[in-house]
């Protein structure tokens, strides 16, 4: 049990960090493409910076916490089905 908690926490943290970097990178790429498609006034850097600031406060970014929640729910569900039904 302690191994599962410690190992799971370390593993999920690695996954969380990797996913955070990935999702932000994809979002930045989308912003770049949107600006480069044309029709947006202002500076490219400002557009991207503002877009990323909005992203950092968005629900989508916060939903990444599910990386920690889903496995815990799964483990409890599996243990329940295996042992108590």
């Amino acid at each position: 049990m302690p191994e599962l908690i410690i190992g799971g926490f370390v593993g999920l943290t690695l996954l969380y960090v990797a996913l955070t970097i990935y999702a932000r990178s994809v979002h930045r790429e989308n912003l770049e493409n949107q600006f480069d498609a044309g029709g947006i006034p202002g500076l490219r850097e400002v557009y991207i910076r503002d877009g990323l600031t909005t992203y950092d406060r968005s629900l989508r970014k916060r939903a990444l916490v599910l990386v920690y929640v889903i496995p815990v729910v799964l483990i409890v569900a599996i243990a329940y089905v295996v042992n108590h039904s």
Binding site: E3, Y22, V26, E29, I78, A79, V82
Partner: protein, 207 residues
């Protein structure tokens, strides 16, 4: 070289399939013929196919009592022998801690050929006689008859999720490579070119 590459991929694929075949749940319809609690020596050869010593039912790393469930198949032949051990909390991830309850259910369903009670045993693992390893019974449920069949929905879902995970990891890796590594390499090359130009300007005489 190409053959070597394919051989390595082939071996890896085989290992992955074997690993999944061992770990994913399977279902056998059987009749329970007897139970046993057998003193078993777990050696370095087969220890990975038994519960780890710190899980509930196994007290020692080398010597332990292992609960066994003897079965017969619907066609009358001897079926697999199952073991009934707690899995512990790491691997395989069944988080089973109700071995005693399973054993009591198995005792309840024990029946004779004349008055058979058919059950479906959900289990993972393999029976390999030469290694003295048994599949681990995870659940026992009573079924209507020996012809009962079951489609492994759960395995399908798990395999789809695994494929999605691999696809996601690959996309993450490609994104990382595209956006971080390639630009860094390009920049380093550019910097290298600039240095070389500076040096060559330094040493070539202006005409």
């Amino acid at each position: 070289m190409r053959k070597v590459k394919w051989a390595i991929w082939g071996v890896l694929a085989l290992l992955a399939v074997a690993f999944l075949d061992y770990t994913l749940p399977q279902h056998d319809v059987v009749r329970i013929t007897g139970l046993d609690n057998r003193q078993t020596t777990v050696s370095w050869i087969n220890k990975y196919f038994y519960a780890s010593p710190d899980s509930g039912t196994a007290e020692s790393a080398t010597n332990r009592y292992v609960r066994l469930i003897y079965t017969a198949k619907p066609d009358g032949s001897t079926g697999t022998v199952f073991r009934n051990e707690d899995t512990g909390w790491i691997w395989p991830p069944y988080f089973k801690y109700d071995s005693s309850n399973i054993q009591s259910a198995a005792a309840n369903y024990q029946s004779t050929e004349a008055a058979p009670k058919w059950v479906m045993i959900t289990h993972y693992g393999w029976r390999i006689a030469v290694l003295s390893i048994y599949p681990n019974a995870v659940r026992i449920t009573e079924v209507s008859g020996p012809d009962y069949s079951y489609f492994p929905w759960l395995n399908l879902v798990i395999l789809i999720l695994l494929a999605a995970l691999i696809f996601m990891l690959r996309r993450m890796w490609l994104q990382f490579w595209d956006r971080m590594v390639d630009p860094a390499v390009a920049e380093a090359q550019e910097a290298g070119d600039r240095t070389r130009n500076w040096f060559s300007r330094l040493f070539t005489r202006k005409s």
